[in-house]
């Protein structure tokens, strides 16, 4: 897989025509998104350019410590981002940090241990980024759901606690549903992959001139790795987060208290 193509800045600039189209549609149909589209375009340019240089630096240095450092930064930012979508969960940052860390460590550890990828920056950085990004989305969805479930089901949870059930037993049905909703989006998209949409890695490899068989195989590896990481992160995040709704005396905390 030593394919390599050169993309000029001119080509990138030409693609801005499509951004102009999106802006025009927003202006025409008054969806009031022009400003957001411009901000998104600028941010994506700055962020991707910066990460491109960072990755080049890490590839050139070829040391595992820089890779781990980059992954750690991604995990922290991922947990902070996911926390903003799980506002109903008290202290959601720590469960999310735990979920992302364990998902990244398990997934990357397994793909290296099974000999699927070499433990080099060239593999660990892009795969780690995908794993952490998907795990972030999944655990954010799961905790968002958990927060809604607990808020709606306070009476049911207290009725179970009133029987002398533990917090874990009282929260179990809601934790299960939250875990399910965190995982199901990727399961569904994995089912339809290749039929309704082409996943990004495969598209990228085909564009870069790779053999379609190689592109498909690499994509499959990544899809399977993502399934594992998404399930792991949602499991750990929900398994840690539900505790934050309860006091040590197995009482349901007051909302916002």
């Amino acid at each position: 897989m030593s394919t390599s193509i050169h993309v000029s800045l001119g080509q990138v600039a030409a693609a801005l025509a499509l951004v102009a189209l999106a802006t025009a549609i927003s202006y025409w149909r008054r969806t009031d998104l022009e400003r957001d589209i411009v901000v998104a375009t600028l941010r994506s340019f700055v962020q991707l350019t910066a990460i491109g240089y960072a990755i080049k630096l890490i590839f050139d240095a070829d040391t595992i410590w820089l890779v781990l450092g980059l992954l750690a930064v991604m995990i922290v930012f991922g947990a902070l981002t996911a926390r903003s979508r799980a506002k109903e969960v008290p202290d959601a940052f720590w469960p999310l940090l735990g979920g992302l860390t364990i998902a990244a460590a398990t997934t990357l550890g397994l793909v290296v241990a099974l000999g699927i990828f070499e433990p080099t920056p060239r593999y660990l950085v892009p795969v780690g980024g995908m794993v952490i990004g998907n795990a972030m989305t999944a655990s954010a969805v799961a905790l968002n759901r958990l927060g809604d479930e607990v808020a709606e089901s306070r009476a049911a949870i207290e009725a179970t606690l009133a029987l002398g059930a533990t917090a874990r037993e009282a929260a179990e049905p809601f934790v299960r549903r939250a875990l399910r909703s965190g995982t199901i989006a990727l399961v569904d998209s994995t089912k339809t992959t290749g039929l309704i949409f082409f996943p990004g890695t495969m598209v990228g490899m085909l564009l870069a001139g790779a053999d379609p068989t190689d592109a498909v195989r690499l994509q499959l590896i990544l899809l399977y790795a993502l399934l594992g990481s998404v399930a792991t992160s949602a499991l750990v995040a929900t398994g840690l987060a539900y505790r934050n709704f309860f006091t040590p005396a197995q009482q349901l905390r007051e909302p916002g208290g």
Partner: protein, 218 residues
């Protein structure tokens, strides 16, 4: 003494829900009465530690509530909330869940009978029950734990008069035959008189009177 409350206060946000409540709750049947918003349900929740007071102490049978394992306490002092909330499944699976938590053998027919429901209810899906049937299933589920004390929050609020009379008869029998102590929150003074031999009146979070029912009436 069943419960002794001393200077019990609880705030919710800025609001003082219970304000230095001093009260003794005797074994037997006690009604907690008062206007809505007086803190009746909140007080009930403190008695099996679904919540803890911000200040003051509560003792159960002479020992501070805080010293009890909350899980064991709740299986002995069972609270039936005002709004019926059962676990998905059948009536029997709900009773079995409660009995298992308390480490008791389940006699579903007996529990249902005490709550005024026939044995045929055991196989019913809780989703198919009327509100009144659910409220009685909640009572049966609490009884499956063979509690020493039942804390009942407006136990007949969702019932029509016939069902209400049936549940009241059940409660009297539980108190009389099984020697279960009852603490009943009720907004209805007539019901309090029918069911309880003592009464504790709350107003705006304060205990304004307590004593035998006849005395409270005078």
């Amino acid at each position: 003494m069943l419960f002794e409350l001393r200077e019990v206060s609880l705030n919710r946000g800025e609001r003082r829900v219970l304000d230095a409540v001093d009260a003794d709750i005797h074994p037997g049947a006690t009604a907690i009465v008062g206007p809505s918003g007086a803190g009746k349900s909140t007080l009930l929740r403190l008695l099996n530690r679904l919540a803890d007071p911000d200040a003051g102490t509560i003792a159960y049978r002479g020992r501070a509530l805080a010293e009890y394992d909350p899980l064991l306490l709740r299986r002995e002092v069972s609270l039936v909330p005002q709004l019926p909330s059962l676990l998905p499944g059948t009536v029997e699976s709900n009773l079995a869940y409660a009995a298992r938590l308390a480490g008791k053998r389940l006699d579903a027919a007996a529990c249902l009978g005490h709550a005024g429901l026939g044995a045929e209810f055991a196989a019913r899906d809780v989703a198919e029950l009327s509100v009144g049937e659910r409220q009685r299933t909640m009572l049966a589920r609490a009884l499956a734990q063979e509690p020493a004390v039942l804390l009942l929050d407006e136990p007949t609020s969702a019932l029509d008069q016939a069902s209400r009379d049936a549940v009241e008869a059940t409660l009297k029998r539980l108190h009389g035959e099984l020697e279960i102590s009852l603490v009943i929150v009720s907004h209805d003074p007539e019901q309090a008189r029918r069911l309880a031999d003592r009464e504790l009146r709350l107003e705006a979070g304060r205990a304004v009177s307590s004593g035998p029912n006849a005395g409270a009436r005078a």
